[in-house]
């Protein structure tokens, strides 16, 4: 359905830099200045332009900037999704990190982080580890902030070695994550 732009640089394993946003507990007023459209568009691998309409299942294993219209599901698992200011999404979204400037109608699961920019209009339920909401963003739905996730458990398991105790921690965290879904 969509493919990388040929003129853009090859994708690294994690081309989406951690945005310079405040910690999730910081109030909206403390948010760092939002990146310009051009900046974050250049930082992601794939780009769906504002005239593109996609109906169906959208999945991938790279970061995506979406400024068009999507109806269905979006699944990027370990990658980032940026819904641009012109983006109109009517879909369930699953990604590692979701940044919304445009309109989304559907549930959003951002495993690590969800960020609602000031122009965002989101109708749906959010499940994430951390959320940043800029002043002016509109949310109609619920927020479920999960303090533990698979990612953290993986990191813990990696740092603790491949011992049995870390494997147990990973399983425990996964169970916890699934329970909340």
């Amino acid at each position: 359905m969509w493919k990388p732009r040929p003129d853009e640089k090859p994708v690294s394993s994690n081309p989406m830099p951690q945005p310079n946003t405040p910690a999730p507990s910081a109030p909206a007023t403390a948010a760092a200045p939002a990146k310009t459209n051009a900046t974050f568009r250049a930082e992601v691998a794939a780009h769906i332009g504002k005239s593109v309409v996609v109906k169906g299942e959208l999945s991938g294993s790279e970061d995506l900037y979406l400024d068009g219209e999507v109806e269905g599901t979006i699944e990027l698992r370990d990658h980032s999704l940026v819904v641009g200011p012109n983006g109109r999404v009517r879909a369930h979204i699953t990604a590692r990190e979701v940044v919304v400037h445009g309109k989304v109608e559907g549930n959003v699961s951002g495993n690590e982080r969800v960020e609602l920019k000031r122009s965002c209009v989101l109708t749906g339920d959010i499940v994430t580890q951390s959320i940043v909401i800029e002043d002016g963003a509109f949310l109609k739905g619920s927020v479920d902030v999960q303090r533990e996730s698979k990612t953290e458990a993986r990191k813990a398991a990696a740092s603790a070695g491949a011992g049995q105790s870390s494997a147990v921690a990973l399983v425990g965290a996964q169970a916890s994550f699934l329970e909340h879904k």
Binding site: E105, D125, K140, G141, S142, V143
Partner: protein
């Protein structure tokens, strides 16, 4: 939650003025009591009826569970709800409004933050909203509402409430709405007559805080 069925107008953010005034903070005894009551819950389910506030979501998610946000005052501005009564006066279509808003299962919430929404909401929506809220609260669930004790004109602007901590709120004046009415004690008693108990706190700034238990 409405899914894919709403009109484009409803999905879009109704146009409101964006300029805001200077924020001020106020201590709230009602909110302190409200916060205390949340401490014992497991898998808390809270509904915030004010404008989306990062601070509120951050504070309320500390208790665990899920925080719901629905800005019904802003939703009520949607022109698709506007109707004309027989005498030609403008009103809102309550049936349509509540078909698309505040649609939650019965006995769903442990707590609801109503803020001062009833003071600013259209007359046609106030009583149905309270009834809808009552049903969605669990028995024993708690609701916090604020009511102005006098119409101070520009001194009683509509405010966004941001939670600073367990007893301090930050008020951000918004020019979007005008006070619609003043509820006196009797009106408030009547409004929440189907609830189990009501507790009033009168603050110095002409705000009556009411904690209601279903």
């Amino acid at each position: 939650m409405r899914w894919f069925g709403g009109s484009a107008q409803v999905q879009s953010k109704p146009a409101v003025k964006s300029s805001t005034g200077q924020r001020s903070s106020r201590r709230s005894t009602g909110f302190t009591e409200f916060t205390r009551s949340l401490a014992g819950y497991k898998d808390l389910s809270v509904l915030d009826l004010g404008q989306t506030s990062s601070a509120n979501i951050t504070f309320l998610t500390q208790f665990g569970g899920r925080v719901y946000n629905e800005d019904i005052l802003r939703d009520s501005l949607d022109p698709s709800y506007a109707i004309r009564l027989e005498d030609g006066s403008p009103s809102l279509d309550g049936e349509k409004f509540f078909a698309e808003n505040l649609n939650y299962p019965e006995n769903h919430f442990d707590a609801i933050l109503c803020w001062d929404i009833p003071d600013y909401l259209h007359e046609a929506l106030v009583k149905p909203m309270v009834e809808r809220i009552r049903k969605s609260l669990k028995p024993g669930g708690i609701l916090l509402a604020f009511f102005h004790t006098k119409d101070a004109g520009p001194d009683s602007p509509y405010c966004r409430y941001h939670i600073v901590n367990g007893d301090l709120l930050e008020l951000e004046p918004r020019p979007d709405f005008r006070l619609q009415r003043i509820f006196n004690n009797r009106h408030i008693e009547n409004l929440f007559k189907d609830f189990a108990s009501k507790k009033f706190f009168l603050a110095r700034d002409n705000i009556r805080e009411v904690l209601v238990i279903r």
